[in-house]
Structure formats: C-alpha cells, structure tokens
Symmetry: D2
Subunit: 318 residues, 4 copies
C-alpha cells in the first residue's frame, strides 16, 4: 500500500485501526489478547533443539544512550559491598557473610525493552480511551507494564529482512514495506499468524557492534518499518512486534509534520506491544542454518508497577 504520511494519515489510521473497546472497556493489554493458552502450548513445541538465545543487550555504561531521545542515559551500576571490602575485613567483626551487592539506575527503555501501552498518547488519550492524565509524576496509573507480567509468551517468528536482502544490515533510513515483510516470510517458508511475536531484523545493532560505536543509535536515524506497517500488524493480529533498532520504525521519519508517526497509531489506537533493541545475531544465524524461523518466545517484563516499559532479556528457544 502507498500512504503519504502526515498528521491526516495518522488521524485516519487511528480510526481505521482502533482497538478501543475490542477487549472490553477495562482492557489494559491490547494486542496481547490475541494470544491464547492453546497458542502458548503449541508454541512450546517449537523448541526441539533446546537451544536458547538471550536477546537482551548488556546493561552498563557502554550502552547505546547518548541523550538524543528523551534525555535517556545508559545504565549506571554501582556497588554497595565488594570483594575488596571483604578482603579488607569489613565483614569480620562479628563474623558475617562475605558478600557483594549492587544497584542499578536506568531509564526502563534505555536498553532492550518492551514499551507498555502507557508509553504513547494520541492527543489527550491513551489506548482504550484512557485519559492521558492517568500518567503523572507518580507513574503510569493505567496501562502500566505490570499488566503484561504473564503475557509475553508465545510463538516467535523472525523476519530476517537483512539476510533476505543479502546484506549484513540495512542502511539507516531504509524503510521496510508490508509487501517486503510478506515476501520475507514467504521466502523463509513461514506464515505470520494471529498472536505471534514478530521479530524484525535489520542488522543495525550488529553494524553498531561491529563498528564499535553506537552513533545515532539510539535516537537518530535507523532502518525500520514504514508507517503502513500499522495496517499490516493489525491485519495479521500479531501479539507484538520487535526489532533490533531503537524504535522499530524507519528514521528519518516519512513526514516532516511530526516524529515517530507509526508510534502515534500502534500504541494509542491499536494497543500493540512493541519491543526495541532486541539483539538477534545468533538467533538469525541459527535460523538461516536450519531454515526454521519460528520458535518458542518468552520475554517476561519486570513487574514495574506504573512503568512505561521494562528492560528485558527476551528469550528465543528453538
């Protein structure tokens, strides 16, 4: 499909794709409702090799944050007790357990993470019609991360766009159309189904790692899905979408009228769960090697009450 992205297109898509009320007036998990226990049970059969891929990136000072978006920073990890303390005798009078302890301070979206549905507003509203003022300095009082505590499990499918194009990575600014996603799936011999957790690999993160610099990642330009993806994601009835970029959608954005137009629709109108900064290198290599692009997916969020998201280490199990 061809969409001229604009505020008008956002408005139209917000109406076309609204899931408000679809799962009742009190729903707080949106498209995660697509997943049924049967799907989970079936998905669990997709792990015959017993091979596990952790897709979380390391949390520490060398992470991708650079202040480009939202003033986020990299995880700050400090210690409360150390082995050097122990050797120095800190725990010896009286004789106590010798231990180390530590603290982490980070924006919940600073590394590999889920967005909760409380992360983005359209005008003064949140998904399912909740008032945006439900999110104040005290936290996300509606649509917080905690509602998905036991929901991030099901069939995972990798769409390896970079490999399908025959490149190590897409260049920043390259958009991924709905047709291309379908073509990738077809070429991989996999069908996207209702309730799937769809992982889209652009290779951008691997480029950053190979170059040793994050550059505009996170906050700057990136390959990613085109705005039209909102229609695709709705039609396929997927549970969630994730990518190896910081924001899933293509950057620079397809319009000058606003930034992040796809986000404006998929979170507030559809209630689509979104994952960002998933590390997919070894998973993708394994899929290419055995030709199997589906797997058991388990990506539990931390139960951050009132969170706009959660840092995670999502697992693909094949």
């Amino acid at each position: 499909m061809e969409i001229k992205v604009s505020l008008g297109a956002i408005e139209k898509a917000s109406k076309d794709l609204s899931n408000w009320g679809r799962w009742g007036p009190d729903d707080q998990i949106g498209t995660l409702n697509h997943v049924t226990p049967e799907m989970i049970a079936k998905a669990a059969t997709l792990a015959p090799k017993g091979k596990v891929f952790g897709m979380g990136i390391p949390l520490g000072s060398t992470g991708p944050q650079n202040g480009l978006f939202g003033g986020r920073w990299n995880p700050i990890h400090t210690m409360l007790a150390t082995g050097t303390d122990a050797v120095a005798g800190r725990f010896d009078d009286p004789v106590s357990i010798r231990y180390a302890d530590d603290v982490i301070y980070m924006p919940v979206q600073a590394a590999t993470h889920w967005d909760s549905l409380g992360h983005v507003f359209y005008q003064d509203k949140m998904y399912n019609g909740y008032d945006a003022r439900n999110v104040d300095s005290g936290g996300v009082h509606k649509l917080g991360m905690e509602h998905a505590r036991d929901k991030m499990v099901g069939r995972g499918v990798l769409l390896d766009v970079a490999r399908h194009r025959g490149v190590d990575w897409l260049a920043d600014g390259e958009g991924i159309s709905n047709d291309e996603l379908d073509a990738v799936a077809a070429a991989q011999g996999v069908t996207i189904g209702k309730g799937d957790f769809v992982l889209i690999r652009t290779g951008q993160m691997e480029r950053c790692y190979s170059e040793g610099v994050w550059g505009g990642y996170a906050g700057g330009d990136a390959p990613g899905v085109k705005f039209e993806n909102c229609y695709w994601s709705q039609e396929k009835e997927i549970a969630a979408i994730a990518s190896d970029t910081w924001g899933v959608e293509v950057r620079p954005n397809e319009t000058k009228e606003c930034n992040q137009p796809w986000h404006w629709v998929v979170i507030p109108a559809m209630g689509l769960t979104m994952g960002e900064m998933f590390y997919m290198k070894e998973l993708a290599a394994d899929c290419a090697a055995d030709g199997v692009y589906e797997f058991f997916f388990a990506g539990p969020p931390l139960v951050i009450t009132g969170g706009t998201g959660s840092m995670i280490n999502p697992l693909a199990i094949k």
Copy 2:
C-alpha cells in the same frame, strides 16, 4: 542427615561439595552446567495447558526492603515525561510524539531476583577459585550475572512444603530438612532430576501479602531450608534453587558463629544459582489442582554486566 552447624561445618561442606574445576578453570556458571539442550527441549513439553505464571513481585515503593539487610531499599520509580506534560502542551511546539518515560533505581536484589555467583565469598575466594578482589567498586569482574543470560531455562519443579504440611505458611524459623524435601516430592509424585530448577514454597511471602505488612521480610526471620540442604542440592545436581523467602535458608540461622551459613557453601563452593522472593501462590494452587508439579521454567536475568544478580520476573509455564 544431622549437622551441627558451625564454621567448622561450613569448612567441611566447602570441601565436600566443591565444584571448583568441575567444568573447567574458566567456568563462570556453576551448576547451570547441569542443564543440557536435551533437558530444555524435554522441559518445553511440560507446557500442555499453555498457562503462564509470572513469579516476579511488583517493583515499587511498597516492596519488602526495610534496611535490615545490606542497606537495600525498595525500587524508586520516577518519571522523565508524563501524560500531564503532554496535555499541558509540552510536546506541541514543534509537534512531536506525546509520550511518557521513566527511570528505576534499585538494588538488583531488592525484589524477586537471581544471585550471580559473584555475590558471596568464602574467605578470600569466589566460586571456582577466583580471587574475591575481582569484585570491586567497578563491579563483579568474574562470575557476573551476564554469564547466565541464556541459561535460566529448563524443567521447573515446585516443592510445596507448606501445602504438604497442611498449612498456609510455615512459621518463621521453621527449617526444612532434606528428608522433608524428599517426602514432599514423593507425595507430589515428582522426582527431582539433574538440571532442574527447584522452587520451594514456604508460604512466607503469601503471609506477608495477606497481613499487609512485610515485617522482617526481607532481612529478618524466615522459614527455609536447613544448612544440610547444600548436600541435597549437590547430590541431586540441580541447576538452581529458589524460594518465596528473601534468602532461601532458615532464619534465625542454625548457628551463632556466623550468619547465612548455607550461602557460605552453596555459592562459593558449589556455584549453585539461587533465586529469592519468587511469588508462587497461583502456581502452587494450579499444581495442587491438577496434581502436576513440573513445568517449563524460563527466568531470564537481565544482562547486568558485573552484576551480583538481577531482578527478574521468572515464568512457570504449564
């Protein structure tokens, strides 16, 4: 078995149960080595109902920390952007995405968490013989949490000690013997196997929730396994052990010579992975209802480089 717990008993057990070198001189994951891909593949078949239980407790100011142990505090969650900001027009000039963002600051062991093997020392040594001075203010340079990023998956088994005793919860200070664990397993019709993730339910956390106060949880008295459990865990070759208490082992401790004697052995000598503050209420009810105490377990840690552990939301999938 009957052990008079003492510093001497710790020393003996440390020798009896040492896994140093068992998986090579560079090993950093200890008993997680017991888990094989075959076990994982087989464990994935234990989810026929597709029912998911998230065992992480909420991260927020109402958590269990009270300063009793290590000066830990409850998660502090603050906002970087809000819906009230959005409604006030903060994102309108130029027109930008209306979003909320947030930050969390917490000791990694303040709520439901794994201990990494870098958390506890015996004398000046860590598991596998590493020098304790590998843990300084810069972090855990050996045996950090990151080494287990893709390891916390396998067969889970619940040992519901409280239900076996016919009580809602064990009282603080009540110890759980090896014989009792075996009896619980037998009564439940389940066998503890090599590479299992063993979850021990005492009911203590449920008592706290039902009473509405955390009291001495975390840091104070608790029901839990007796010191002798280190022999049981080694013999069974389990991958990991977890409980619904803050420290797995019984409190007050079984000796006055030191605190947390079981920890002194299982982490530094054995390299046993340990989970704490697992919320098990609904899982336990389900197991009691269907009589099935084994399940697929997926408890991915965050990839906290140099972490003494990680907050988690571990999943049991039946």
Copy 3:
C-alpha cells in the same frame, strides 16, 4: 490578629499580600529583592567573634524522611571507588592515583534546604503570575533555584521561641503567633528589619535528636508559625524565613479544608523564600550566652538548574 483559616482566608491573603509585579514582570526571586548590598556589607560587621555555625543536618540514610510527605526518601550515598579497592591494587596497573569517589541520590528537599519559588502553586499560577505548567518533568523552567545563587546572604536573626517560652522544645501542634514573634524579638533585644533572614527555633529537631527517633518529622505534626505569619512576614519585609522544623508552619494545620495553608500564600503570592530543617542548637546556645541574636548569614544554595529547592548547609557567623 485572628484569622479563621480556610480556603477563603487563603484567597484573601493571596490578594492582600501579592508581590506580583512588585519587582517587575520578569522577577524570579521575590522577597530576596529586599536585600541590598548595603545590608550585606552591614551584616558582615556582625561577625566580631569569628564563630561559625553550620546549620545543615547530615545527609545520609539516618535522615528524617519516612515517606510521609511526597514519597521523599533519605539521601542514598554510594561509592564509585574505595580505599579497600586501592589496597587491593585496583589502581596499580598502571600506577595511578589511589582515590575514593562517591555519589549521592536525594530529593533536594529531603534534608536542610531552601524551597525555590517554583515549589508551590496557587491554582494554576506560580509567583509573579507565571503559569504552573512552566514546571514539568523537565524541571522548573521559571523560578528555579538557580536564580538565587548569589542571593542568600545578609543579616540573620534568630528568634528563639522555645527558649523564650522556657522549654527545650515546643510540642507538636503548638502554633506561634505574630505577637509572640514580636515578643520574642523584644525580649531578645533585637529588631526584625527589612531584608533579614529570620530563623525561628522551636526545638523540634533537637527533640528528635535527643529522643533518637524522627517520628513524624518530616511530614507529620510539628510546632510552627500560624497562618497569620504571612501577614507578619510581608509587613516586616524579610528576605527569608527558616525554622528547625520540616515545614515552618504549625501541624496539624489550622484548617481541615486543605493542608499547608501558609505555604499556599507565602510562596505563590509573596515570593517568600523559605528554609526548612535548619539545625540551630549550638547557634541558639551561643546567642543565649552572649545575648546577641543577630549575625552574618550565608546560606548559598547549590545551583540546581530547574530545582524546586536545594539542600544546603547554611552558616551563621557571629
């Protein structure tokens, strides 16, 4: 004067005492404008003994915060480098400076502090008519602490209400009238002048220290000035007012219609700078001993850009 405190009385006082526009439409420091260089020069002559009193309380985990107000917590102080690290050899390869370093995390109003004029709103407005929406998650964009960076200097006067009453401390809930403040000044032989920094001692903090528990301090009941004090402070044209309590005004408040009625007026209407949790014990003893209740005052705030206040260690120099 006798005022029946109510929302109506607040509204009336807000009109009676408004300083909006008094120092121009762009003013951001309110009553600190009362201080002139001549006053400062003269105040500097009030230090003939060269005796210095630091009135900041220690910043650390044993502070007064208990969650009663605003979810504030006590300062969290963690290390980035330690002497135990140094002795363990952390800085020896290559040979580098052996040092310790540390971090502090705290609400700016958690201990001894100034409020900035951006701290309190009346309806949708701030002092001088600024819109309250100038304070968003990005900070205090008008009336932030930074505007007072070189303003907190002048003549200090202690009004030792507790000593005047002949008690070690006033009981929680005891109000201090304008007449009493005048009587204390008269008895002390001191006159409150334009541009003064007025320090009011109730003894409450000393009671807490002597009892070893903070109890309702901060956030609960306290002795303090009555609502009518807003008229007194305006008439005297003082620069700032401070006390040894957490909120200057008496608690329980004098009305049930709202909390902290005096704050509603003195910050948004008058632009009065306010200091809280000043430790005055030794200063007060010295004043009682030599009969001199005026001194040179220097209480520089940190230059917290966009801050609602700043933690401080204000000095009285006699």
Copy 4:
C-alpha cells in the same frame, strides 16, 4: 624551585610536607586548622561593598562530565511532582497543596566541589596516618566531608594568573610555578597569609563556556599548578586552594610514572583542602576593576556523612 617529578619526588615531598600528627592524632581537617576565629572575624571586614559572587556552576545535564575520569557523570535531575500534574488535578481530591518536587543524582565531585581528605590515599594510608581501608563501600569512615561543616570560612584571595599573563585563559598544559604565584600576588598588591582560601584563576572554565564545549574538561588536559606547588602551599600555611579547572594541577602531568602527582602529596601528606571547578569570571572582573583581590569567603560543604567531597556553591563577598 625545580623538581623532577617522579614517584621518588612524591615520596620525598610526602615526608618533607607531612602534617601527620601536627594537630593531634585524631585530627580530620588538616590545613583548615590554620584558620582561627580571629582570622574569620577579620575576613568579615573584607566585604565593604556587599557584593556577592556565587562560584558554583549549574548542576544539570550540560555539565562538564564526560566519563574521562572515574566514570563520573553529570547531575541527573528528575521530578517527583510537577505543575503539569497540578493543573491536571492531581492534588485536588482531597484538596491539597499544589507543589512540585524533585531529585538529584550525581557524583559529589561532578561539578564545583570540595575534596574531603578521604578522597586520596598514598600507598595504604590516608592523611594523618589513617588506614585507607577506612574507606569502603559504606563510605568514608575517617576524614569524611562532614568534619568540615563549619570550617570553610575565612579570607579569600584571588590569584588571577590569566589576567596577570595578559590572556583570557592559559592553554591546556601550561604549568604555574611558585614564583609565578608570588609574582601575581605582588602585582596584585596582595599578600598570601596563613589560613587563606586561595583561588587560582586560569581561565580554562571561561574558555569552555565561551566555546560552548567542555572538551577534555573534566578529566583531560588543563592548565594548573606545578607539582612544586605542594611546597608553596605548605610554606604559606594556607587553609585551602581552589581553581577554575577540574583538578587544580597541570595536565598532562609532569611525569609519566603516575597521574596527578600533586594530589598524591597535598591530600594524604599535608591534609590540604582542595576546591575544583570554581567559576570566577565575574569575581575576577570585579577584582580587576577595583584592584582588591581579597574578600570574605564562605563555601560551606553539604554535610555529606562519609563523603569524599561535596558539591558546593562557594561565595566570595567583597
């Protein structure tokens, strides 16, 4: 004097300049002992104009930290309550005070600050012979910042090296000799006396502000005093030394054998209090204009118990 800087020269200076025991075995403030009440009283007479200069730099995300030294970062300032919340009605049910509140998270030495004497070790020792292991993850248990809570007051003298050289700023790497300090003082018509707080202006900070980039500030190259300054500071019996650079001493350092050689001596051997990142532009302009380079100095530290230092906003009052 000519010193070939080396580990040997450090060792020699540490012996030559040791103040261990000079003020008793329990002393924790070092050269601040040089200040007497008489000096303070006299210093207070140096403020005839009543003009105040705040020398603290703004605390916020645009500060000078860049990770070059010690992994320090710029102050992180987040909100707990906002005006946008207030306007959205957060405080209206029940009717409560409408307020904003906020938090700061920062290394205590990330901006304008004092070093405490617990900041630097020589071998395994601190100033006055204390064992370096008194500084562990729990904080600085000897020589912490709290001991100086009422000590940072006295006569301030500005030595405007940049203006004396006729430049806006010294270039990075330019050293300042003892002879030059004496020449500057002589040219300015001021004598450095016992107990003085000596402020050395290189102009580096002003260069950074004028260029709009911090570059290697903090952590990289800088103009500053030569190693030999330790002899000068000891001979003059000054109370403290401060500069407008991040580390007072010249960078690159005068030796390859170690970094920061001057620090190795002045803190552990002498117990010299040191201030860094003092903003001096307006003060220096005023001194140049009226030819008066002495003033009343008040730079109270926060009472950070166990701190390696404290962020400050020190005042010069002329």
